[in-house]
Symmetry: C2
Subunit: 250 residues, 2 copies
């Protein structure tokens, strides 16, 4: 069976279904009233409440409250999960090694347990990333400025890795730091670090922050440091047609 679901299961049914799900490498889904304990890189406690628990066959373990995109507690892929019944209590326990982390869920009441032997061979195809900004600049360097010649992508230097390294028409070394979204102080610091590292060994080095926009603070720091800005929005490459993104949702 690819999917199974049981409302208000007994302890025996929970154990039974859980083990069957594990053997099938299915995704386990539990609606439960529970308490949660975590100890590892940090440590946390969560009192009794209703949550959704998701356990994936790769060891990922998610506990979701009824709000927010983020799980309140979790365990990353590679963790090992187990179910334990002792003294009229039932626990889910997930252990990660390196770093050692333990997630423990006391199931006070299980409203629903289900599993899903999911078959999925598709991968996400995403466009509009920073990497595509770099590609775009290599295809059309004049987007930065007339005479700009990009030479390296993801080039390791003394203290970090430069997004794009090139030269301008006057022979200056040009360092580009790309941001797919509005650039902040962090981005300026990053660019400054690269520029200073290159200036240790070269005469004329320019630094250009390339992004759709700048925060106010980033603009101030950029100007103070004598760095530059070029406005550029990451492209959304259409799979088939060159048209705008209106094709699907209008």
């Amino acid at each position: 069976m690819k999917v199974e679901a049981k409302l208000n299961p007994t302890y025996e049914e929970i154990v039974d279904i859980f083990n069957r799900a594990l053997s099938k490498e299915a995704i386990v889904n539990i609606f439960a009233h529970c308490r949660v304990f975590y100890d590892g890189r940090a440590k946390s406690e969560l009192g009794p409440g209703d949550r959704v628990i998701l356990i994936k066959p790769d060891g990922s373990f998610l506990i979701h409250q009824k709000e927010k995109r983020e799980p309140v507690n979790w365990q990353p892929p590679g963790s090992s999960v187990g179910l334990e019944v002792k003294e009229d209590k039932i626990f889910l326990r997930s252990i990660r090694r390196k770093p050692r982390e333990i997630l423990e869920v006391e199931l006070l009441n299980v409203y629903l347990i289900s599993y899903f032997q999911a078959e999925d061979y598709e991968e996400l195809a995403l466009t509009g990333s920073e990497a595509e900004m770099a590609d775009l600049i290599f295809e059309n360097p004049s987007l930065i400025e007339d005479g700009f010649k990009p030479l390296f992508k993801e080039k390791p230097i003394k203290h970090g890795i430069v997004d794009v390294l090139g030269v301008d028409k006057e022979g200056n070394i040009v360092i580009l730091e790309l941001k797919r979204r509005r650039a902040d102080l962090h981005a300026v610091s990053q660019l400054k670090r690269y520029v200073e590292a290159m200036r240790e060994e070269h005469e004329k080095v320019r630094g250009i922050l390339v992004a759709p926009s700048l925060t106010s603070g980033a603009k101030k720091l950029l100007e103070k440091e004598g760095l530059e800005f070029r406005k550029l929005t990451p492209p959304k490459r259409g799979k088939s047609k060159r048209g705008r993104q209106k094709t699907l949702f209008d």
Copy 2:
């Protein structure tokens, strides 16, 4: 009913259960074979496959494949969800405004639809954060060095916000950048930015990176810049009587 679940539902049952879930502000959980389209800050497409869909009453929308901690597609809290049946096809659509983003799920087959009217009044209590490192330093400044006097926490300066600002026994201004985990190049850049900003207006300014450890690159840059390092691991404060605070006093 607090929980409801239907295996292999008809279109009508899907609509029925989905609407009931919405009116109860329940969490909706769907096991489905589906395709996914997203357009917003970026744009993506995901071909047919089995996924778990979670829709929360706050508008959060998660689509999980069978691996990884992260959803393959999602919509953040505040988004509006709708279910639409047209021409023998059934779609889930979630819209976010500001920025405008659309997530569309074509449900090719629904194995299970369930909802959970979760009641939860508990919040996570977590310890071992960077904020607690700051508290610890204010309680025991000699952890940094003898004679250190912390003055401000989260102090806004010219180009950013300093974690801890204080003075040493010789009257130098001291800037602390705290990291709860191994500090990297980014952390050093951050500290350097604060130190340089303060040096514009003060004579003697020291910068100290406070973290459990340093990456090799961070160490190199830190030394080159004349910045300092103090080893400190974020404390895990025991909530109850079980004094697990050994790390504090040994």
